[in-house]
Symmetry: D2
Subunit: 332 residues, 4 copies
Amino acid sequence: MHQSPDDLDRTDPEGAIAAAAKRCSNWGRWGADDVLGTMNFLDDAKRVEGAALVRRGASFSLSQSFDTDGPQKGWRRRTNPVHTMTDTGTDAERGVQGFPHGIGGADDVIAMPLQCSTQWDGLGHIFDHGFAWNGRRAGDVVTSLGDSVTGIETVASLIAGRGVLLDVGRAVGTDGELPDGFAITHQHLEATIAAQGESSRVGRGDLVVVRTGRLTRARRDIAEGRGWGDYAGGDAPGLSFTTAGWLHGTEIAGIATDTWGFEVRPNEFDVAFQPLHQVAIPNIGLFIGEMWDLDALAADCAEDGRYDFWLTAAPLPVTGAVGSPVNPIAVK
Amino acid sequence: MHQSPDDLDRTDPEGAIAAAAKRCSNWGRWGADDVLGTMNFLDDAKRVEGAALVRRGASFSLSQSFDTDGPQKGWRRRTNPVHTMTDTGTDAERGVQGFPHGIGGADDVIAMPLQCSTQWDGLGHIFDHGFAWNGRRAGDVVTSLGDSVTGIETVASLIAGRGVLLDVGRAVGTDGELPDGFAITHQHLEATIAAQGESSRVGRGDLVVVRTGRLTRARRDIAEGRGWGDYAGGDAPGLSFTTAGWLHGTEIAGIATDTWGFEVRPNEFDVAFQPLHQVAIPNIGLFIGEMWDLDALAADCAEDGRYDFWLTAAPLPVTGAVGSPVNPIAVK
Amino acid sequence: MHQSPDDLDRTDPEGAIAAAAKRCSNWGRWGADDVLGTMNFLDDAKRVEGAALVRRGASFSLSQSFDTDGPQKGWRRRTNPVHTMTDTGTDAERGVQGFPHGIGGADDVIAMPLQCSTQWDGLGHIFDHGFAWNGRRAGDVVTSLGDSVTGIETVASLIAGRGVLLDVGRAVGTDGELPDGFAITHQHLEATIAAQGESSRVGRGDLVVVRTGRLTRARRDIAEGRGWGDYAGGDAPGLSFTTAGWLHGTEIAGIATDTWGFEVRPNEFDVAFQPLHQVAIPNIGLFIGEMWDLDALAADCAEDGRYDFWLTAAPLPVTGAVGSPVNPIAVK
Amino acid sequence: MHQSPDDLDRTDPEGAIAAAAKRCSNWGRWGADDVLGTMNFLDDAKRVEGAALVRRGASFSLSQSFDTDGPQKGWRRRTNPVHTMTDTGTDAERGVQGFPHGIGGADDVIAMPLQCSTQWDGLGHIFDHGFAWNGRRAGDVVTSLGDSVTGIETVASLIAGRGVLLDVGRAVGTDGELPDGFAITHQHLEATIAAQGESSRVGRGDLVVVRTGRLTRARRDIAEGRGWGDYAGGDAPGLSFTTAGWLHGTEIAGIATDTWGFEVRPNEFDVAFQPLHQVAIPNIGLFIGEMWDLDALAADCAEDGRYDFWLTAAPLPVTGAVGSPVNPIAVK
C-alpha cells in the first residue's frame, strides 16, 4: 500500500495545529479539575473486558532495557541510565561487608531521564502556547518542583485494561517494517484493523500499541555492528499529524509506538517540532507511550491471529513526574 | 491472639541459619543454569487462574510514592529519590525554549536507589557465605558492573498472576496493626488464611502480600506531625525466621510486605542481620517485595471478603539490577 | 562584647530591603554586559599582593568533606552527595575486570547538589523582584538549562588573591563561638579587625572569610553523638542585614562564612528569607561562600598573629551553574 | 625531532611492567602507613619557592568545562555531567517560589563521573596484580564504599606548589601538536626542557604539566563540526611507558597532560591497557592528572619565556574518591 494523500495544508503549520487543537479539544469535558484526560475512558468495565482476553496465560514484557547501552545520545539532554552498585557480590565474597553469620548483600542506585527508554508521557509533558492539559497555564502546572497538578502519580492505579496491537509494519510495510519518514494516516490504521480482523477493533478506553518495525530495524543495526544510530531523536516512521481526529474520535485511553517520538519524523511541516504532540497531549489529554518493544507480542499475534490482550502498563509513581519509565505487561 | 512460641534455637544463629538454608534449599531444582528461582512456579496456567479473578474491574496500585519526602534516612546509603526537571512549564510559558508554533515541553530526570520505595529484591540482592542463588559464587554474579546472571531483567515479563492478601494486621493484630518486633509465624499466616476464608488459600505460584499495618501507622505518624520515624531501617513487625519452611513448602512465587525489611525487626537472634533473607533469597530463590502499600486493597478485601486478585508487579528491567522499583497493580 | 543596637527598621522589611538594594547597587558599574560583579575588584595586582603573603608555605584546605555523612537533610531538596563506585579493588583483586597483565582499576561517580557542602554562590543564585545581577530579568538568565549569562564558569580563573580571616567567633564570641541568632554587624567586623591587628585590614579586591564558630560547635555535637542537628538550614550566627553597606563600601571581591546561610538565622525581620542575600548577590554582585571550614586556619592565625594569606578558591567550572563546590586553599 | 628509539622489549609486556614496577617502587619509602605517595615530595619549602613565581598576577584556569557537551561517550561507563536545576529564574520571575519580599532563587544539582573532565587520579585508581599503593591488597583499600585508605581527601590541602609546563607539542611537534600514537620519551621531555630554558627545570616536589596539543586539535575538530571524536578514550599522544624511570627519578609530586589517558595510545605493547599507569600509580605512588587545558597557559609561557608558575590544583575532597574533578589555577 502506498502512503495515502491527505488534505494537510503544509503551508500553514501554525494554523493547522490551531485548527486541529480546537477541533479535538477535550478541555472541560471531565470538569475543570480533571487531571486524567483520556484515562477517564478506561473504566472498570473495560478492565473486566480486558481480563477476559487472557486465554493461554502467555505474558509479554513490552519494555526495552534500561541500561548504559541504550539509544540516547544527549538529545534534549537525555542520557542512558547510569546504574551503579553500592554493594557487590565481590565485596560480600571478600568478607568486607561486616555482617554477621555469613550474610552478604548487594544494592544499587540509578540515575536516568524518566523518558530515556520505554515510557509514558504524562499530561504535563507538552504545552500548547503556554497552556497545559485542560486549559491550565503551563507555569501553574510544571515548575522546577515538577508537575504539581497532573504528575504521573495521578494515573498510578489506572493503566490496566484492554490492549490492542495495530501492527502497521506488518500490514502496510515491507517485510514488516515502515521506512523513516513514513506518516501513518488514519487510513493506514483502519486498513491494519481490517487486515488483522475483529480482535483489533479500536474503541473507547482501549490502550492501542502501534508497531512500525523501527525497533526491529534498530536491533538489526546493532546486531550487524552499526549501533543504535538515530533511533532516539532521529528520523522514524510514526503517526501522521492528520491522525489527530482519529485519536480524538476513537476515544482511546492511550497509545504507544515502538519509536522514540510517536509521530512521524521528520514532521510533516517544513518547520515544526512534534505538532501531533502539541494537539494530542495538552488538547486531547491523551496518554502517549514511546519506545515500547512490540516485537515478541507482534509475532505472537501474527501467529494466533488475536490482536487484543490484557495490558497493564503501570507508570512508576514518581511524584510530579511529566513522564515515567514503564514495563508494560501484555497477557494473552 | 498472642504471639506463638516456636522451636527457634536463639542461642545458635549460625547453626539455625545453616539448618534452615539446607532444609529449604532449591539449588539445582530447575537446573544448574536457572536464574528464575521461585518465579518458575508462576506459569501460564496460574496467570489464567489469576485473570479469572477480575470481577468488578476495580484496580489498585500497591506502590508508595517515589519522591524526596520518602522514608529513607541514609541506611545502607539509601536516599530518597531526587527528581529534577530539565524543562518546565514556566520556561515554556516564558517562551525561552525555542520551539516553533507555540509548542513547549517539560522533561525530567531521577536519581534514586532501586530499593528506596516499593520494590522487588532480585535474586542477586542477598548472599549466603559468599554464595548466590543456585550455588553460584557471589563474585561471579554481582560485581561493580551489576548482576550479570540474575539481574532483575530476567523476570521482566513474568510477574503477573494470582495475588493473595494475608491481612495479618487485621486478623491477628489490634485495630488492624501489629506492633514493632512482632514476629509473624506460620501459625499466624495459617490463622489469617482461616479467618479470611477460601479466597485466601495459598499455594504454588501465588504472589502473596502480607499486610502488617506498619505503613498505616507510619502514615498516621506523618499526618500527626511525627514524620516517617524509623519506617525505613528501624523496628517493625514482619515474618518470623521460623517461616522459612512455610515459604519453601508453599511453593509461592513471591511475597511482599508493607514494611521496609520483610522480616521482623529486631531480628529474632541477639546478633543478626536479616537471617530470613539469608535463607529465602540465595537458598529458596524467593522473590521478596518490600514497602508495598496494601491499605486500599486491604480495605476493599475486608469489605467484599475476597482476598485473591489479579496482580501484575512488573519490575523495571534495569539490566543487572539486584532490585527494582515497582508499581504493582491489583485488579479485582 | 554585646550585640550592638542598629538602626534597622524591623517593621518594614520590604522597604528596608529596597532601600539597601538601591543604596548598594552596582548595576552598570562595569558596563551593561558585566558578568563578574565584585570579582572585577580582584585584579592582577591584588594577586601579586596575595602571593607575597606566602612565608612559611603552610597550606590549609578550607573545605568540608563531600560525602553521605554531611549535614543536608533535604532543605530546598538539598541532599548529601551520593558517591558510588563503577569499579573497585575487590573486583580487581577477584580478577573479574578483564584487563591484561595484572592491571586493575577503580572508578567512581557522584550525584550531589552543587551547594551541598563548601561552596560559592554564583551571581545567578539569587534574584530581587525577578531581576538578576546587573539588572537582567531572571528568566533571561537562569532557565532549566542553567545560567546562560553568569554561570560560575565565568569566574573559573579569577578567584585567587589576598584572603583575610575575620575570626569574629574568637574576637567577639564566648570560647571562640557565637550563638545562633547572633547578628554580626559592621561594628563587630571592625572590632574584630581592630583586635586582630593590621594583617586583617580589609579593602578592595580582598577575599574575606568570617569565622563564627558554628562549624566548631557542629563538630562537637557530632563527636558527642548529637549529629549535625540543623547545621544546614537551621539557626546560626551570621552577617546582619545591616552589613550590606559595609559589604558594598569595602569593595571586597568575595566573602565566606563557616555557616550554611552566610547571614544570621533567624533573619532579622519577622517574616523574611535571606534578605541580605537579596541585596548582596543581585544588587552588589557579591560572591558569597558558605559552609567553609575555617577552624584549622583560624587556629594558625591565632597563633602567629597573621590573618592574611594567599587564597585560591577555584570553583568547579560547571557550565551554567548557579553555585559550585570548592576546595579553597589558603597558604601562609 | 623524530621519535627516539628506546630499549623497550615489546615482546614481553608482563615482564617489562614487572621490571619497571620493581625498579620504580616507592613502597615503604614513607612508612607502611603512608597514603600520600609522591605528594610527600611537595613540602612547605616548595610552596614558598612556588609562590615566589607570581610576578604579574596573571591567573589561568587549567580546567575544561564540566557539562553535557563534553567528550565522554560511555567508555568505562563514563558519561558527561548531567546538570539540572532545582529552581530557576523563570520560576522566580513567574512568582511561583513562595518567598517573601521579592527574593527568588536558583539552585542546581549534578551527576557525573569523577573523572569525566579535568581530573586527578587518586592513588586508589589503579592496581597492580591486586595490590594498591604501598603494597596494600586492593580489596582492603577500595570496596563499593570507596577508597577507605587513600581517598582523594587525604591530599585535599596539599596540591599547591611550583608548577612547570613542558610544552612538548611546541618543542617537539609540528605546529605545536603531536600526532596520535606519539610516545613522549624522557629524551623528548629533556629536549623540551632544554628548548624552553632554565625556568622549566624539573625536580623534587614539582607539579609538571605536559602539553601535547591533543586538546588543541579536539577544539579545532569541534569548531569545524567534527565533534570531540575519540578525545576521551581513543588514540592520543602521551607519555611513553619508558618514562617510568624519569617519573620516578625526578621525584616530582604530580604530573598532568591535556589528554584523556596520560600515556600514549595505542599503548606500546600489542596487548596492553595503560601499562604506565600500572607502574606509576600503585608502585611509584604518583599523582596523575588528565584532560587538563594547557593552551592559554602555554601561549603565555611561549610569549614570556617563563615556564614555571604557582599552581594550585585542589581536588574536591569527596570522601573515599579514587579521582576528583579539579579546576587547577596557575598564577604567573
